[in-house]
């Protein structure tokens, strides 16, 4: 069979496949006049035929334009046929309810290490600053200190007492931008052999600890802890989890085992994905609580502490118990 005969025999099939693909890609709204249905089975059959034709054309060294034409149409059909569209609500719900807590437990070692890297400097620096308040200036700059002191003091300017709904929304946006950004950096820092994640965890732990120690020493502990303790359940845990993902991919790069470093990295990223979905959602919850609940100073303290305790309990139970049984 010569190339011309080949082209003449099968051109109609290729045209039909191309027309169907256009229909699928562009939707019916761009169709003018005639209403042509999408026939899935026919597309699959035509796609397999076009694959055969491409293999034949290559084996017989047919002219380049013919191979290119078949190459393009099969590549396009391949993209359409294998396109995943099943990331709907059902899939997302499953990821949050089962994949997320399971992945966290599967990476328990990294989570504990990440927690140590965050909480040890937090308590250590917190205690040091509590003992010697002037040390805070070597961790945080003086403007931030003044700002913090004003926010948590009992004065009229203080956080929450005069804040209207507008400021709450402003703070919500700010927290989302800031906190989720930090967590993504903890994750991405893992690509530098995990060092980026370790540094991010240590620095954040030290900064939080320093502020807490300083404000406690200054006697603003009630204002400060009633503010941070509720959303801390989500925020600190999410930072620990993001650090754990960073440590996981760092470890995958340093010690790839029997895989190549690249394979090991790709596997690690795939396994960390549910944790990333999880901590992003936790940070959104944290930002909402921080902006709308934590700042409400008119709420009675016992209520705030009870809710905070419940939040911590809920987070811990969720991560340790949820999704243990296969479903």
């Amino acid at each position: 069979m010569t190339p011309l005969q080949f082209e003449q025999s099968y051109q109609a099939e290729w045209d039909e496949l191309a027309a169907q693909l256009r229909l699928i890609l562009e939707g019916r709204k761009n169709q003018s006049g005639s209403f042509e249905p999408i026939r899935g089975e026919r597309v699959a059959a035509l796609y397999r035929r076009a694959c055969e034709h491409l293999a034949l054309a290559r084996a017989r060294a047919y002219p380049r334009y013919l191979i290119d034409k078949l190459d393009r149409i099969t590549a396009e059909a391949h993209q359409v046929i294998y396109h995943q569209r099943d990331f709907g609500a059902q899939r997302l719900l499953h990821a949050i309810l089962y994949d997320f807590p399971r992945a966290v437990r599967a990476h328990a070692g990294y989570v504990w290490l990440s927690a140590v890297l965050l909480y040890v400097p937090m308590f250590l620096i917190g205690w040091l600053v509590y003992e010697r308040p002037d040390l805070i200036l070597s961790v945080v700059d003086s403007d931030t200190v003044a700002n913090m002191e004003m926010s948590y003091s009992d004065a009229a300017e203080a956080l929450g007492s005069t804040r209207g709904p507008h400021e709450n929304w402003y703070m919500f946006g700010f927290y989302i931008l800031n906190n989720i950004g930090i967590s993504f950096q903890c994750f991405a820092g893992g690509l530098v052999a995990g060092i980026g994640s370790i540094v991010a965890l240590l620095i954040n732990g030290a900064a939080i600890g320093a502020v807490a120690g300083y404000l406690t020493e200054r006697g603003y502990s009630t204002n400060f802890y009633s503010f941070v303790v509720t959303h801390g359940a989500f925020e600190l845990t999410a930072i620990v989890l993001s650090g754990a993902t960073g440590l996981r991919i760092g470890h995958a790069l340093i010690a790839p085992g029997r895989n190549t470093r690249l394979q090991s990295l790709v596997t690690a990223c795939r396994e960390c994905m549910p944790i990333i979905y999880g901590f992003v959602i936790m940070l959104v919850i944290a930002a909402a609580i921080e902006a709308f609940w934590s700042s409400a100073r008119w709420l009675p303290l016992p209520l705030k502490y009870t809710v905070a305790a419940l939040c911590w309990l809920a987070v811990m139970l969720y991560l340790t118990l949820q999704g243990r049984r296969a479903r």
Binding site: T2, P63, Y65, W169
Partner: protein, 230 residues
């Protein structure tokens, strides 16, 4: 041939040719996307500015979403590319040529932070220049590839040349060479075409003719090989 083509095998057993995009094309696409994002934020600033403090909060949420999820949204769409990439005929696919999965898209876009280091996308630029498939760190971790969309090749018609039977039996390789010369003919200068056709002069039988006549006869052989007989 010096080529950066990556072959991906499909379940149907054919090899798809993927052409990875290089630094310059991807930089242009990134610049276009960046400008679009700036424009959206700029317009949003005016609209949300009317809402006061709450508006700034919403604007910050928008900034966050655009920063991290603008590429994810478009990569998971039907075209598999952000507007910038589409403008340059680029597309993001998995290593095996399949459409990009949600997890891979999120991975490669979150890891842009690592590509930013140490400054001005240093890691990304270094990585893309070193690797023949032009991947940045995020692509490596997600197992994705940014490829050029295949462009339609111009079809060689050359119907005005009468077919001539080849003077000797031609191997499939030689046949392919003659046909591809004919297919390239419209894109070559006359002089270059003559030079190339002279290399294949033995296929057309009549050695003594002038160079333009040899060219015409070689193209005629190509027509014959393509299947024309009259």
């Amino acid at each position: 041939m010096l080529d950066s083509v990556v072959a991906a095998e499909t379940p149907e057993g054919i090899l798809l040719e993927l052409r990875p995009a290089g630094l310059s094309a991807r930089f242009c696409a990134f610049a276009i996307d960046w400008l679009i994002r700036i424009a959206i934020l700029w317009v949003a600033m005016f609209i949300f500015g009317l809402l006061g403090g709450a508006g700034i909060g919403l604007w910050l949420v928008l900034l966050f979403v655009l920063d991290w999820f603008y590429p994810v949204y478009f990569e998971l769409g039907r075209k598999g590319a952000t507007p910038g990439k589409r403008a340059l005929d680029l597309k993001v696919v998995m290593d095996n040529g399949l459409p990009i999965t949600p997890a891979a898209s999120i991975t490669r876009n979150l890891l842009r932070v690592a590509d930013l280091m140490p400054a001005g996308f240093g890691a990304a630029v270094f990585c893309m220049l070193v690797r023949p498939d032009g991947k940045r760190l995020g692509d490596l971790a997600a197992g994705t590839l940014v490829v050029h969309q295949p462009r339609p090749a111009p079809k060689a018609t050359l119907e005005m040349v009468a077919p001539i039977a080849p003077a000797r039996a031609l191997s499939p390789r030689d046949q392919a060479a003659v046909i591809s010369l004919a297919a390239r003919a419209p894109s070559l200068t006359i002089e270059r075409l003559d030079e190339l056709a002279a290399l294949a002069r033995s296929v057309q039988g009549d050695e003594a003719r002038g160079s333009s006549e040899v060219t015409r006869r070689v193209l005629g052989v190509a027509q014959w090989l393509l299947g024309r007989r009259s």
